[in-house]
């Protein structure tokens, strides 16, 4: 009960202070949207199918941009301003606190993933999409992206470091996870890297849901995503215990 009050209020505060701030919302959407626009302008007239094909990649990109960097930056920001200490001094278990922190980023990632969907709905017919599977893959991508942001937050000391690290992970993932370029067309070595990235499985599952063209078995996708989530959560827990309690 008491932990519930703490959990809910941390989540609520983050949403109010960070995720609902106009600059952050636009930052999460601007890159994916301008990418779409670019693709649309390049595409030949009247080919509706192109937009639908772009959709999984766009959603994945929105999540990656929304969840990862937001969490990394806000936590680093709070640690710099020392307000993060408040959370460490409160009688709330470390895992509850961490869960509250990543919940905000996950929620943000999921919501922002559906922005391109809403826009696309004005353009094209979206029937035939397996919405249940799409939602599950979006949630799992948001979870792994948020946890990745947390791994970065634990390592970074300054806000600019957090931003640099996020980009360091984010841009390679954009190209290697099959968001826009099919993995099969990558050199073999890079393909191997692709299969080590959680987003690869998320995007594949999403392609299955939206276009029914996934390259991997969806159960394998699901298992990989859950596996990555557990692994990242474990790494975070261990690093947090080691680095955050023994402060400075």
């Amino acid at each position: 009960m008491k932990a519930g009050i703490g959990f809910w209020n941390i989540l609520k505060k983050d949403i109010k202070n960070y995720y609902l701030k106009p600059p952050n919302i636009s930052w999460g959407m601007i890159f994916p949207l301008s990418w779409t626009l670019m693709q649309l302008l390049r595409a030949p007239q009247g080919q509706a199918i192109d937009v639908k094909e772009l959709l999984p990649g766009l959603m994945g990109m929105s999540i990656l941009f929304g969840a990862t960097s937001m969490l990394a930056v806000t936590i680093t920001f709070e640690r710099r301003g020392r307000s993060f200490e408040r959370l460490l001094l409160a009688p709330i278990s470390l895992s509850t606190m961490v869960l509250a922190k990543i919940s905000g980023a996950i929620l943000f990632g999921v919501i922002i993933a559906f922005v391109p969907v809403l826009l696309a709905a004005c353009w094209i017919d979206l029937s035939g999409i397996n919405w249940g599977m799409a939602f599950v893959s979006v949630v799992l991508m948001a979870v792994t992206s948020a946890l990745l942001g947390l791994v970065i937050a634990v390592s970074a000391k300054e806000v600019f470091e957090a931003q640099t690290y996020s980009n360091f992970f984010r841009f390679p993932m954009l190209f290697l996870s099959g968001l826009f370029f099919p993995i099969e067309r990558l050199p073999l070595l890079l393909q191997a890297v692709s299969y080590c990235l959680p987003l690869t499985y998320g995007v594949d599952m999403l392609k299955n849901a939206v276009l029914h063209t996934g390259a991997i078995n969806i159960w394998l996708d699901l298992a990989a995503l859950v596996g990555f989530s557990v692994l990242l959560f474990y790494i975070c827990q261990r690093n947090i215990k080691r680095k955050w309690i023994i402060i400075r």
Binding site: A3, I5, I10, G81, R82, R86, P91, I245, I247
Partner: protein, 321 residues
């Protein structure tokens, strides 16, 4: 019963020992002060007691709870006021308070009521809806203290509560701490102001270079230092010129020139004044005033630690050259 019991507590950063095996007990309802110069290890100790950093060695018991293994349980009865404000800059005063209360599991109605009460009590009512970043230093400190007591902790930790704020705010804070003490709250505070320690604390520990060099009640500390007699003379002129002669004439006394026209006479027992007055008169120096100087806590501190309290501790120049 001791609500805090610390044994052989040690904190090592790399190869630097910041806290070097300290032990102390604090009784329920007591106000205990850590008095020491910059870098003595005060904040390091508070960080270990409140669960922000892990001790290198030693044990901590807080209200019967293992303060290292069960720290999350112990934290629920603690209120913590750090040396620098750690509230949220972008949130207003009221929201900051209610958020802190929520972290301790307080219900919505209760935390809003408490927050309003505290803003009133700290004269911050008008500032309640202003963002924290717009607060002045004194206001920030007051709100941070309010946030530390909103959940009615049994133990309150304060790291230098009166550093860097004006006299009136400092007085207000001391008053508040006395009130809390009367309500039975145990207080642990650190300071480098002797005055704070003397006014607020029942018991004081002098900490220097990570070690407790002396501790006791204010009276005990003063009594121990009070063996010597000290008389301060205010003269018509300084004694610089005749200092050596003067000292030779009274070998049993220790004579020190103080500020311009003052001198300090110290002896192991009571001092007879007439011979001194006569001697000075014969040198053409008038004595305007003779006053017994009672030892202050500051004198005790300086004597025990060899450090001027409340002033920056300077390394001796040339020591490393």
């Amino acid at each position: 019963m001791n609500i805090i019991s610390v044994k052989n507590l040690k904190k090592v950063y790399g190869d630097f020992t910041a806290v070097d095996g300290i032990s102390f007990d604090i009784a329920q309802g007591e106000a205990f002060g850590f008095l020491g110069p910059n870098g003595a290890g005060k904040t390091s100790t508070i960080n270990m007691l409140t669960g922000l950093s892990r001790p290198t060695a030693g044990t901590i018991r807080i209200d019967g709870i293992d303060g290292i293994k069960k720290i999350k349980k112990a934290q629920s009865i603690m209120g913590i006021v750090p040396d620098e404000s750690n509230l949220y800059d972008e949130m207003n005063g009221f929201d900051n308070l209610t958020f802190c209360a929520a972290l301790y599991g307080m219900g919505k109605a209760e935390r809003q009521k408490r927050a309003a009460e505290l803003l009133e009590e700290f004269n911050l009512k008008e500032a309640g809806d202003r963002p924290f970043k717009a607060y002045s230093k004194g206001m920030r400190r007051k709100l941070t203290i309010a946030a530390g007591i909103i959940h009615r902790p049994k133990i309150l930790f304060l790291d230098e509560p009166t550093t860097g704020i004006d006299v009136e705010s400092a007085r207000q804070i001391r008053r508040l701490l006395s009130d809390l003490k009367r309500q039975g709250v145990t207080i642990f505070l650190t300071t480098h102001y002797i005055e704070d320690a003397q006014r607020i604390c029942d018991r004081i520990a002098f900490i220097v270079k990570g070690r407790i060099v002396k501790s006791g009640t204010v009276d005990e500390l003063l009594r121990n230092a009070g063996q010597e007699q000290v008389i301060r003379l205010t003269l018509s002129q300084g004694i610089k010129g005749i200092k050596n002669q003067f000292q030779q004439a009274f070998p049993a006394l220790r004579i020190e020139a103080q500020s311009e026209n003052d001198c300090l006479i110290t002896a192991p027992e009571r001092i007879a004044l007439a011979p001194i007055l006569q001697y000075l008169d014969s040198k053409g120096i008038s004595v305007f005033e003779a006053k017994e100087a009672r030892p202050t806590l500051e004198d005790v501190f300086v004597k025990v630690t060899g450090i001027e309290a409340g002033k920056p501790h300077k390394e001796k120049a040339g020591e490393h050259r």
